[in-house]
């Protein structure tokens, strides 16, 4: 990256809310239905239809605002953002302009050096999504586009940051944290492929030490963390090249092309950036009193940061483990439930971050779909703790649980995997091993004590791994000294 310039990034994130119905009508927000099946006069923009605000959208906006330390506006209004596009049937989008519901918040992000940085949140406002456009590709449809309005009027929160980020990595850290947060708040499902969490990035550069911001380019609608990083990095290089060659960066919207990893200008659609916002007379002002805010605050779920602190404090697991486990809401609940079911926290953490996560990665699936649920994992960990099985046999048990979905006790019983703690049985095996390895026994007794490991190995092998290793160790030492 060119180091002569300071990079300045602000992000606008569109978060699709998990409500059952649209923001201004009772049509379902379910994904994947037949085109235009989920439409009504309101979301089709038919004359005379009256939009009425979904109360749950307000609840979700307040939640998100509180979680980012925003001021919740006691009074906010909706506005019409006017422009023409075929996916926008009314000719305006209902959004908020002056008086948005949340303002002046922030999100603290962790930096690589262990410190944290505060990213300002300018505002969060509610708005409706547009419909979906598909462009004809066959010769017969080449001159047409096709409009599906199922998505029209779906509730969105737009979360606008201050231009506080100074690298693509900071931007990604902020986005990942915000992504985790809206999922933990249960206001958004976080599905980036389906467009539930999408990002526009405002990127500019300026010579180090210059106070005023450079001219920015707006990178539109990028739907993966990797692409956002690529798009920002490409854009920084591009702007540096423009300045180096004596040119000027122009303010414009640019589209990221994921196949080439580059951005290109979207001139044309841009020319009239004049939305002529005005208060929407169809929607009455929204008044939120302190009681309402406090009710929402009381019902806020535990956020990743608080959860991380609790895992360290209450469960005594390392901060590193707590950090990994709380990156994902489902994983942290899985861990919580496993511990609640009686598992040792550090053991649970090791197994979840290790075996469980590895198998999920291999299968490309989510923890919610894991064939071993928290109760099953806890059941197995308890058998390690009470020495019914060794840690080594546990791998076999876990394998079998994963394959069959059967609980640990049933598997241990059916496969005869119970650890042998009966000293008589272990003693018999040890006697055999000593009898069959006379030269090694002689060497050991002559002072080659590192051979102990060899004997332990032989005994464990003869017991098919079921002997208790600690008991074997003790007894072997005694026997070999005789």
């Amino acid at each position: 990256m060119n180091s002569e310039y300071e990079v300045v990034i602000g992000l606008e994130v569109h978060v699709q809310l998990t409500t059952a119905t649209k923001i201004f009508c009772g049509c379902s927000t379910a994904f994947g239905n037949a085109p235009n099946a989920q439409t009504c006069p309101v979301c089709l923009g038919l004359p005379g239809a009256l939009p009425v605000l979904n109360r749950q959208v307000v609840e979700n906006a307040i939640r998100t605002g509180l979680a980012t330390d925003c001021r919740i506006a006691p009074r906010s209004i909706f506005a019409r953002k006017n422009y023409f596009y075929p996916d926008l049937p009314k000719g305006y989008q209902i959004s908020q302009f002056e008086l948005p519901i949340c303002e002046h918040g922030h999100l603290d992000i962790p930096l690589d050096d262990g410190t944290s940085k505060r990213i300002g949140i300018t505002r969060i406002h509610m708005e409706e999504d547009a419909g979906k456009l598909q462009h004809g590709e066959t010769p017969a449809t080449a001159d047409s586009s096709f409009v599906d309005l199922n998505r029209a009027c779906t509730p969105l929160l737009e979360i606008v940051s201050e231009p506080d980020m100074r690298s693509a990595d900071e931007a990604i850290t902020y986005l990942k944290k915000l992504h985790q947060m809206v999922k933990a708040l249960q206001v958004c499902d976080g599905n980036m492929e389906q467009g539930s969490f999408r990002c526009d990035a405002n990127v500019s550069i300026r010579p180090w030490g210059q106070a005023e911001l450079g001219t920015r380019a707006e990178l539109k609608n990028i739907n993966s963390f990797r692409f956002i990083k690529q798009a920002i990095e490409y854009e920084v290089e591009r702007q540096a090249d423009v300045l180096e060659s004596g040119g000027k960066v122009i303010q414009e919207t640019r589209l990221f092309d994921s196949t080439s990893g580059t951005t290109r200008s979207m001139r044309g659609k841009e020319e009239a950036h004049d939305y002529r916002y005005f208060p929407d007379p169809d929607l009455v002002p929204l008044v939120i009193d302190a009681d309402w805010i406090e009710r929402v605050r009381d019902a806020l779920p535990e956020l990743p940061e608080a959860k991380r602190a609790r895992f360290v404090r209450d469960y005594g697991i390392p901060a590193y483990d707590a950090g990994v486990l709380t990156q994902n809401h489902e994983v942290s609940s899985y861990f919580d439930t496993t511990v609640a079911a009686g598992a040792d926290p550090k053991q649970a953490s090791n197994w979840i971050m290790g075996e469980v996560q590895r198998r999920l990665n291999d299968a490309g699936s989510e923890i919610s779909a894991a064939p071993v649920d928290p109760a099953m994992l806890a059941g197995m960990l308890k058998r390690i703790a009470d020495k019914t099985i060794s840690g080594k046999i546990a791998k076999t048990v876990f394998d079998e649980m994963w394959k069959s979905g059967t609980d640990a006790d049933t598997i241990i019983e059916a496969k005869g995997l119970k650890q042998v703690t009966d000293s008589g049985a272990i003693e018999a095996i040890i006697n055999d091993v000593i009898a069959n390895n006379a030269p090694q026994v002689a060497d050991y007794r002559a002072g080659k004590e590192q051979l102990l490991g060899f004997f332990v190995g032989q005994v464990m092998k003869a017991s098919k791994g079921k002997a208790n290793p600690a008991a074997v160790n003790d007894m072997l030492k005694k026997k070999l000294q005789e």
């Binding site: 059952a20 749950q56 075929p86 409009v147 002529r276 009455v284």
Partner: protein, 95 residues
Amino acid sequence: MKISREQVVQVAKLARLELDNDELDALTGQMDAILAYVDKLNELDTDGIIPTSHAVPVENAFRPDAPVPSLGTEKALSNAPAAADGCFKVPKVIE
């Protein structure tokens, strides 16, 4: 003048209105008169008065987050000038 001819041209463009020269002249005059009339309000002393966004003193009209039946594809498209495959068909727009 409260509004210029160029501003009227710009507003017409944003509203997708095609106006000929005579119409532009007439509308510029009319809009100028309207704005002058509205400007009279500036003569009032509005210190300490909260700006009004709505004419009626109503707030917080909500609906619960409960689905109601939609129109369905067929009805939704019944007035469309052109439709295909369950979608409204429009002249191609290129991004």
